[in-house]
């Protein structure tokens, strides 16, 4: 009796999980269809697979957009780590008095709608001639991710055992040694989680990229949206582009689920 019920619940869980995942699977399947097969009124599950859509993506220069996305993500994540690690260190291991105020300030900048800063950024960038510049876009992404990174780093750093730090201080370690050879090795997995999340947010960002870039520095998300204006059939090529664009993050997320959860919950969940 009990086991029948368990089997039923397990079966139901599986059906729900697969149904929930279906749009992703469908995107993946469609990317291997010809445009005619993809636009079939009766959904086709059996078809002759083709790589036609992927070669069309290459023709449309998707590599350039992916390169831009990669550059923006790597540069902004590096800037964030350089700024966030010392700041989080100061907020957790060597706390200053108004820690809460500092934390509150940082997180409140994340609450601030992008809408509030986009206009001046657009006009300042235009005057500085850095509109459509990947480095300028990277700095915007860094500012967007910095508060979250500091919060996440702080929670990882606060778990470093106080005894370890004190022992190193008694041994006469100065601040640099303390940070580089004592604290950082312990929180390396945490830093990896922070880096991964910042990378994902930059990689997926649409609003700033669509407004602050055009021909040279456009990243992948606006490139995807550009298929909508295309006439005729475009579902297969759109699915292929979406698959390529989403795959790095999906794989990273699958393999680092635990770190992702802890990082995203900003240390509030263990």
């Amino acid at each position: 009796m009990r086991s029948t019920k368990a089997i039923l619940i397990t079966g139901m869980t599986w059906i729900i999980a697969v149904t929930y995942f279906f749009p992703v699977a469908w995107m993946f399947i469609n990317s291997f269809k010809s445009e005619n097969d993809a636009a079939s009124l009766t959904p086709k599950f059996v078809f002759k697979p083709t790589l036609e859509s992927f070669s069309r993506l290459a023709d449309r220069g998707m590599i350039d957009y992916l390169t831009n996305s990669l550059m923006a993500s790597v540069i902004s994540t590096s800037v964030v780590l350089i700024l966030a690690i010392p700041a989080a260190y100061a907020l957790s291991i060597r706390p200053i008095v108004k820690v809460q105020d500092a934390l509150f300030f940082f997180i409140s900048t994340r609450f601030m709608p992008a809408a509030a800063s986009i206009l001046p950024l657009f006009i300042i960038f235009k005057n500085l001639r850095v509109l459509d510049n990947i480095f300028a876009l990277s700095l915007v992404y860094a500012a967007m991710n910095l508060p979250i990174a500091i919060w996440m780093m702080r929670s990882f750093l606060s778990e470093v055992p106080q005894e370890v730090i004190e022992a190193s201080r008694i041994d006469g370690a100065n601040f640099e040694t303390e940070l580089w050879s004592v604290v950082l090795p312990i929180v390396l997995p945490g830093i990896a989680a922070v880096a991964l999340i910042c990378f994902i947010f930059s990689w997926n960002e649409y609003f700033f990229s669509v407004l602050l870039t055009s021909a040279n520095a456009k990243t992948t998300p606006p490139f995807l949206a550009s298929f909508v204006d295309g006439r005729g059939q475009f579902l297969a090529v759109l699915s292929a582009a979406s698959t390529v664009a989403a795959l790095p993050v999906i794989l990273a997320g699958w393999f680092a689920q635990k770190q992702l959860v802890r990082g995203l919950a900003m240390g509030a969940v263990k």
Partner: protein, 303 residues
């Protein structure tokens, strides 16, 4: 803020030691201020100007004209309602769906980790890609899967993103964010004390009573965290509106309205005024919600 940093603790350590934390935090603070606070001050300045990018020679000081315009034309209130409504419905729906998933996955069964992996994937997909895929392969009137099923069931096709843009956006956002809620709630469920649950089953408290009186109260803090983080992320959701509905059918959020004024209408002054109003509203909401939930974050759930 600066005053707070100056009032250092009275530790008898060398001056250098006392300065260190400030030196460490200064770069992040300055960077953050330059890229977020300074642009906001510039937005305030712009909002007092009559300035249309299409007519640059007519740039002039406008005083509060733009604000009068913002409050007199009837666009502000619907945008506030759209923003609050879409955010609230999406947060509630994804929280409920996420709780359902978390309960399903909080048991041992064959392939449990694979099922969890499948369910979290929508959260990992690039939001622009999700919006496009849903619009063209799920919701489409001709080739969309949902309409294929709807027609098989004997109904006529529904133009989801054109007829029901509001519901379509909520469905999309729920699909994307329920996995996030699930992950947080699942770690809540898994941190429940086994003894308490066993005691409840010894006392013959049924599944539902155990869930209502033990599990749900235990999940309270996790739910608060999920709501706060979900709200931060969903409040700024711009992609589904820009890609799927273009602000039609009650989905013109503040972010989209401002985008439309600035980058379609090219009216810097008016857009800036909308921006300032948006920020003030956000600050009010953020201060209330953040202050009340702040303690959970500072101390962590399990401490």
């Amino acid at each position: 803020m600066a005053a707070g940093l100056k009032r250092q603790n009275q530790e008898k350590s060398p001056v250098k030691e006392k300065l260190l934390p400030r030196k460490l935090i200064a770069p992040a603070l300055i960077f953050s201020i330059v890229l977020t606070q300074v642009p906001f001050l510039v937005t305030i300045y712009f909002s007092l100007m009559e300035w249309n990018l299409l007519k640059p020679q007519e740039k002039a000081f406008a005083g509060i004209d733009n604000y009068i315009y913002v409050f007199q034309t009837g666009d502000l209130l619907p945008a506030i309602i759209a923003t609050v409504g879409l955010t609230a419905f999406s947060v509630i729906c994804s929280l409920l769906v996420g709780l359902f998933f978390a309960v399903l996955l909080d048991r041992k069964f064959r392939g449990q980790s694979v099922a969890r992996t499948l369910i979290i994937t929508p959260f990992l997909i690039m939001p622009a890609a999700s919006a496009l895929i849903w619009k063209f392969s799920m919701f489409d009137t001709n080739i969309g899967i949902i309409n294929y099923i709807v027609q098989k069931l004997g109904f006529s096709a529904i133009g989801w993103s054109t007829q029901y843009p509001y519901i379509s956006v909520i469905i999309l956002l729920t699909w994307q964010y329920a996995p996030f809620m699930m992950l947080i709630l699942l770690s809540g469920l898994q941190s429940q004390s086994r003894e308490v649950l066993e005691a409840a089953s010894v006392d013959r408290a049924g599944i539902w009573r155990t869930f209502a009186f033990i599990t749900l109260p235990h999940l309270r803090q996790y739910t608060e965290i999920a709501i706060l983080l979900g709200t931060i992320m969903l409040l700024q959701a711009f992609d589904p509106v820009a890609i799927m509905t273009k602000g039609t059918g009650g989905t013109k959020t503040l972010a989209y309205l401002l985008y439309e004024r600035a980058f379609v209408g090219m009216n810097v002054g008016q857009a800036a005024a909308y921006g300032v109003v948006t920020v003030i509203l956000t600050i009010i909401v953020a201060t209330i919600s953040l202050r009340s939930l702040f303690k959970v974050f500072i101390s962590g759930v399990n401490k």
